[in-house]
């Protein structure tokens, strides 16, 4: 019957109870909505980076990363490529030759990294070919060797498809070399900084111009992204003289974003729970003070203080048990809906692109958060009603019956 009294007590002031319930539910929804959006953004940034330019793991010659010399190609390139190509855990692999170059057209100039790529392998590894306007991934060309530049670089160079572009760089022996390429396509990724600094040519064209027989970088994707670190260790044991790094090591800012998100989520959860706690303390305190006479009567007729205490605790647990699932349900529906259809932020597309994000955000929430929030809501409800419940215990029955 204590359960029944406690449950019915919360409906004695329906308006107040519903205001508290909706406030708690909205708090949970608001907090989880921000968390899921931020998670979606982080995930999108990571996925974009991995599928466009980082891949899961990259292999370099250790000296290349230290000195950046052209001759520091991967010594066991063929063996590593063969090993990775045949490995059942590897989804795609490609090797690249990277040369810093000065690029110029009749309309402008800039500094870029010329990426010599194996078009067939690169097509399997990255989504660059899908990001090209015409879908010509260095495959169709006439006399001049083909080059793909980004939209951002094209604007800077005042270039378009079929524009001839001159790239100047030093070859293997430190001699100045110039190559003339024809733009065969223009790409646009979600990272404008990457776009501005990279251009793509065929591996054999760049090898021929730079006189380098080999490549500086092997990048590959695994079938299971959870096995990245494990696979990296295996490869490192097999090729100890190479520098082998996972995407977290190559682009640490992407990994930091993960950790940052954990911190942000913790802060948000604390804020949500504090708001919930104050809401419950306020409501239960009002409920206790309004019902002093009734509580005094209950103690007078023989209801011991332990039961009075639990009755108050139960009232706040019921409030939380109604508000919590309501907030979680609304959040679940919203996350499912926007997770499928996305949140259109095209009005801020330029800003988002500059940090590697697309203009449509897909919120994502780890299901564990629903469990964590549910438990936290109940724990917070219990903790926050202790003060009002203790207040009820201090009531003097004779005094409350006399004064109320």
């Amino acid at each position: 019957m204590i359960f029944k009294i406690a449950f019915q007590n919360i409906w004695r002031n329906k308006l107040r109870s519903w205001v508290v319930i909706l406030a708690i539910a909205l708090g949970i929804f608001g907090g989880l909505a921000v968390i899921s959006t931020a998670t979606g953004l982080t995930k999108m940034r990571q996925e974009n980076a991995i599928k466009t330019y980082v891949s899961h793991i990259q292999v370099h010659d250790s000296a290349y990363l230290t000195y950046g010399r052209l001759q520091d190609t991967i010594s066991s390139e063929k063996k590593i490529m063969q090993f990775l190509s045949l490995h059942k855990e590897v989804a795609a692999v490609s090797n690249r030759l990277k040369v810093e170059s000065f690029i110029q057209s009749a309309g402008g100039n800039s500094g870029v990294i010329l990426n010599g790529i194996d078009t067939k392998r690169e097509k399997e590894l990255t989504n660059l070919s899908e990001l090209c306007e015409k879908g010509n991934f260095l495959e169709v060309y006439k006399r001049k060797p083909p080059i793909i530049i980004s939209q951002k670089l094209a604007t800077k160079l005042n270039a378009k498809i079929k524009t001839s572009i001159q790239c100047s760089f030093t070859n293997m022996y430190g001699e100045a070399t110039t190559g003339v390429f024809k733009v065969v396509d223009i790409f646009s990724s979600s990272n404008s900084m990457y776009d501005e600094l990279n251009a793509f040519v065929r591996l054999e064209d760049l090898q021929s111009l730079s006189l380098i027989d080999g490549s500086h970088e092997i990048a590959f994707l695994l079938k299971d992204d959870k096995k990245v670190e494990e696979f990296r260790e295996v490869l490192l044991a097999k090729y100890p003289n190479q520098h082998i790094a996972s995407w977290r090591g190559i682009a640490p800012e992407l990994g930091y974003a993960d950790k940052m998100m954990d911190l942000v989520m913790t802060i948000f959860l604390v804020i949500i729970m504090l708001a919930l706690a104050f809401g419950i303390v306020n409501t239960m305190l009002m409920a206790v003070l309004e019902r002093k006479k009734e509580l005094g009567m209950l103690i007078s007729i023989g209801m011991n203080k332990r039961k009075v205490f639990w009755m108050i605790v139960l009232e706040s647990i019921f409030l939380a048990l109604i508000a919590g699932p309501l907030g979680i349900f609304v959040t679940y529906i919203a996350v499912q809906f926007f997770g499928n259809y996305g949140i259109d932020l095209s009005f801020a597309a330029a800003g988002l692109k500059s940090v590697g994000l697309e203009s449509t955000i897909f919120p994502d929430l780890n299901p564990m958060y629903y469990v964590i929030i549910s438990l936290l809501v109940i724990v917070t409800a219990i903790l926050s009603c202790i003060y009002p419940a203790l207040k009820a215990l201090k009531l003097n029955p004779a005094e409350t019956l006399r004064t109320a």
């Binding site: 019957m1 007078s300 023989g302």
Partner: protein, 225 residues
């Protein structure tokens, strides 16, 4: 038996001292139908609260049966009230979210009585107060008189040694008052239930079997009819 020995009660807020009771001695035996009367502020409610263990005396002792209630801890006192004393309040004080039946059952639940015993006693008591057809009504669906009759049934539900009623008819009209007094007298006569009232209602005083008059915190008269 209730034995009140040399009770004094002084309220002191640090500035003013109010002597609510000044050396009260009284004995109430089983089966009495006693009214404690007096004007407002005379100390009758204070005396009732001290007898019921809701308030503590400044000096003196209250013994109920063989138990000195001053010797009980707070929790023991609550349990003692549950099992030995029934209360009826001026403004009924039923639990608003429960039905008449549930209000009566409530104390028996606290006493951990089984379903059968609870059901039988609730039905019997609501019948005794003439509310057998109102068992599923909540307090706000009943008249003041009906609510006070439920309060009487509730007070008796735990089979107390006696019932303390603080101005039970103060908020009732003449008809409801007469009805309530009939019920309580019947319970007193047929089941030997002890009732102790505080009142200044002449209708109650007229039907009480013993009248104790309190004035300025002292008993100035005590006569049995």
């Amino acid at each position: 038996m209730i034995e009140v020995t040399n009770i004094t009660k002084t309220y002191d807020d640090g500035k003013v001292q109010v002597h609510a009771l000044r050396g009260v001695d009284v004995e109430i035996t089983e089966g009495e139908f006693t009214a404690i009367v007096g004007p407002s502020g005379s100390g009758k409610t204070t005396l009732l609260n001290i007898i019921g263990g809701l308030d503590t005396p400044t000096h003196g002792e209250v013994t109920i049966g063989n138990t000195s209630i001053a010797s009980l801890s707070e929790n023991e006192l609550i349990d003692f009230r549950l099992n030995h004393i029934g209360f009826v309040f001026q403004s009924y004080n039923l639990i608003p979210v429960l039905t008449a039946k549930e209000n009566v059952e409530f104390l028996m639940l606290l006493q951990k009585k089984n379903d059968k015993e609870r059901d039988e006693r609730t039905t019997q008591l609501l019948k005794a107060v003439g509310l057998e057809d109102q068992i599923n009504k909540k307090p706000n669906e009943m008249s003041g008189g009906q609510q006070q009759r439920v309060a009487v049934a509730r007070a008796l539900a735990s089979k107390p040694d006696f019932v303390l009623a603080d101005e039970p008819t103060a908020n009732l009209d003449s008809k409801s008052t007469a009805n309530l007094l009939d019920i309580m007298l019947k319970l007193n006569e047929e089941e030997n239930t002890t009732f102790v009232f505080s009142t200044h209602d002449q209708r109650v005083i007229d039907r009480a079997k013993r009248v104790i008059t309190v004035e300025d915190g002292k008993i100035i008269s005590d006569h049995t009819k």
